[in-house]
């Protein structure tokens, strides 16, 4: 058995300092920590919350300030990372769509067998699906007209 005293409170940060509102993990009867909101209300109203007093006593206001600031930084960094990941995913999807359109265009028999290198190159160089579509349509039309003669 460990003799080390286990703290009832973990990872406290300010949710709203003016409202003396703290978010932290509190040890439950089952031995596990649960995320809790501890609210004492504005100091001017004189409200009392035993958990709030215990947390301030154990950690101190300055420590909560530092923890809150660090938590904010981590949260902001996470948001930036998530945004970058979402943008990267979207960009990759766009690239896949464009590339698949080019592949599909070249699966078309008329395009594949066409000797119009210039239009084929334009399809391959296309930067947007609309360009692929447009050049593919022109090439098919030209090939159909050529075959009809």
């Amino acid at each position: 058995m460990s003799d080390v005293e286990v703290s009832k409170y973990k990872n406290p940060i300010w949710q709203n300092k003016d409202n003396r509102h703290i978010v932290c993990e509190i040890l439950q009867a089952n031995g596990e920590y649960a995320l809790c909101h501890v609210v004492a209300g504005p100091e001017s109203e004189g409200g009392v919350n035993l958990d709030y007093d215990n947390i301030i006593s154990e950690f101190g206001i300055e420590d909560l300030d530092v923890r809150t600031s660090e938590h904010k930084k981590i949260k902001e960094q996470r948001l930036i990372t998530e945004k970058e990941e979402a943008e990267a995913k979207q960009m990759r999807m766009k690239q896949e769509v464009l590339f698949n359109m080019k592949l599909e265009a070249f699966e078309n028999d008329l395009i594949q067998s066409s000797e119009d290198k210039d239009l084929k190159k334009l399809i391959r160089k296309s930067k947007t699906p609309i360009e692929v579509q447009a050049y593919a349509t022109i090439l098919i039309q030209r090939e159909l007209e050529k075959n009809a003669k």
Partner: protein, 238 residues
């Protein structure tokens, strides 16, 4: 007069062979005089493939996911641009690629860590080169390097291989084998980078468009989807 050309290697799954043909056709659209060789299994070759490829080499091709490593030292060219099958050529500059070699024996493009499964090996070591496309000179040093790449990869994927002190996930990457050869052996090969922006020579799906620095990509590098691989023929040695 130098004999320069492009090499594709397709083994194990027929999806790679199909992709190699699509890529080589795109190469011919931009450079009709290109000399292109394909290393693949004889059973897959169709007569019409000779309209695309100058040479199709089928003798003794290993049925191995990294058959490319076996084939590289056997290039028929003085200067070779090895191109992964899952690519599409998109620019006329492909015809000038051999001019880039300079005094080097091999040129690579760089990996982008944000778009790679693994590049960092330790605090000071990183696999910086992308091994899906490179330009190399056919000389004794590079041929030895390529052969060592293949044997090194076979050793690396053997059951008793120990990755220590590097992460175990490097095992399946031939990029790691090449990194090790370039950094831990006396290979005598002059290694260089493609000119900036190198991404235009190997624009891998997922790269940021800004990597191109306003230029047009010459080679687009995608990944064959797993369902495409699953529905294609797996080569069986007869």
């Amino acid at each position: 007069m130098q004999n320069n050309g492009y090499v594709y290697v397709a083994s194990v799954n027929k999806a790679y062979y199909n992709a190699a043909k699509i890529s080589a056709q795109s190469l011919l659209d931009f450079y009709p005089e290109a000399k292109i060789s394909l290393f693949t299994h004889a059973e897959w070759v169709e007569d019409s493939d000779y309209d695309i490829f100058d040479q199709i080499i089928t003798d003794n091709i290993p049925n191995h996911i990294r058959a490319k490593l076996w084939a590289l030292s056997q290039t028929p060219y003085d200067l070779t641009l090895y191109i992964d099958c899952d690519t599409m050529i998109q620019h006329e500059d492909i015809s000038n690629v051999f001019d880039l070699i300079g005094n080097n024996d091999i040129l690579f493009t760089r990996n982008r860590p944000y778009n790679a499964k693994i590049t960092k090996l330790s605090d000071t070591e990183e696999m910086i080169y992308h091994c899906g496309l490179f330009l190399y000179r056919n000389n004794e040093n590079t041929r030895t390097l390529m052969d060592n790449w293949y044997t090194g990869y076979l050793e690396q994927t053997a059951p008793d291989w120990n990755s220590d002190p590097y992460p175990s996930q490097v095992r399946k990457w031939d990029t790691f084998t090449m990194w090790k050869l370039l950094n831990k052996t006396e290979h005598g090969v002059r290694v260089g980078d493609f000119p900036q922006p190198d991404a235009r020579w190997n624009f891998v799906i997922g790269y940021r468009p800004s990597e191109l620095q306003g230029t047009e990509p010459v080679i687009f590098h995608y990944t064959i989807p797993v369902d495409e691989l699953n529905k294609n023929e797996i080569y069986n040695i007869k």
